[in-house]
């Protein structure tokens, strides 16, 4: 069942997800834990924060700038909007002051992402090439 989740990002848009370097395995692939929805204050499922390259570019920002904002403890994983949609995810913009391009990723049915669904995203995510 489809929930009323917005879906407004161009299919070819690169989607970035911040991840702790300690959650990257020695082979360079991320652990599934990197792809959890943030819990809301009441404990309910919220969404997974992401950044969209198209909006970052309009603001003159790069993935290197994004990584700098979050610090050396973090790295940036790159995905593609179409690939995420194929995994049942929906994407929308949710602007924050801290850095341009902030957005949200959530299951199309509004449900909390299961471990298996996290794993499927982990398998298609890679560290942004600019950071290698």
């Amino acid at each position: 069942m489809e929930a009323d989740i917005p879906d407004e990002i161009p299919p070819d848009c690169t989607v970035y997800r911040l991840a702790k370097k300690s959650d990257i395995k020695p082979d360079g692939t991320p652990q599934s834990d990197c792809f959890s929805d943030k819990a809301a204050d009441d404990g309910s499922s919220y969404y997974m924060s992401v950044y969209f390259l198209d909006e970052m570019q309009l603001a003159g920002k790069t993935v290197l700038d994004l990584q700098k904002v979050w610090g050396l403890e973090y790295t940036v994983l790159a995905l593609n909007a179409t690939d995420l949609r194929k995994q049942g995810e929906r994407l929308w913009r949710d602007t924050r002051d801290e850095f341009p391009g902030h957005g949200a990723c959530k299951r199309a049915d509004g449900a909390e992402r299961t471990r298996g669904q996290k794993r499927k995203i982990a398998k298609i995510a890679r560290i942004a090439p600019e950071l290698l």
């Binding site: 702790k20 300690s22 959650d23 395995k25 082979d27 652990q31 599934s32 834990d33 990197c34 959890s36 929805d37 943030k38 819990a39 404990g43 499922s45 997974m48 909390e112 992402r113 299961t114 471990r115 298996g116 996290k118 794993r119 499927k120 398998k123």
Partner: protein, 162 residues
């Protein structure tokens, strides 16, 4: 500093553990008993007499996972349940990659040759699950509750074959 001592009936095959976690007002130390019998009957018969849990379980649960829990999301029950599950694994199970998700879950995963195994234990038990994958294929997901024995058996078989 607040010190809480939680007394529970002593169960066979139980391990006492003190879990310290930071909170806003200082250090909260809670004495828990990681019991194997666990909260559900299915766990109570998982450990054979004399079976030892993997050596990494205690440090992982008492120190490493709390250190990764930046926002203090993980409940004590969740941590204890995770410890119980890991304690049912064969003694020679290697230490997993582990993490704490923003959704208040603890995850552990193993890359074991052709096999990939993950477990998740969260504050919401409905999200507890096991993921198996062979040769990089489609991940198969099962609820953790009711399948802990299967997890231990599969891990044993995988470790024997890999």
């Amino acid at each position: 500093m607040t010190l809480l001592a939680e007394s529970e009936r002593i169960a066979p095959n139980s391990t006492d553990a003190a879990i310290a976690s930071a909170n806003g007002s200082g250090t909260l130390t809670k004495q828990i008993r990681i019991s194997r019998p666990g909260p559900d009957a299915s766990v109570s018969t998982l450990l054979n007499r004399g079976q030892r849990p993997p050596a990494w379980v205690e440090e992982l649960v008492l120190e490493e996972i709390p250190r990764k829990d930046d926002y203090g999301l993980i409940g004590l029950d969740t941590l204890a349940r995770f410890a119980q599950i890991c304690s049912t694994l064969p003694h020679h199970t290697p230490k997993p990659y582990y993490g704490v998700g923003d959704d208040a879950t603890i995850g552990a995963e193993w890359d074991l040759g052709r096999f990939h195994v993950e477990i998740q234990v969260g504050n919401n038990p409905a999200m507890n699950s096991i993921v198996f994958e062979i040769d990089g294929g489609e991940p198969e997901e099962l609820p953790l509750e009711g399948n802990v024995r299967l997890l231990a058996a599969l891990m044993s078989r995988i470790l024997r074959d890999s």
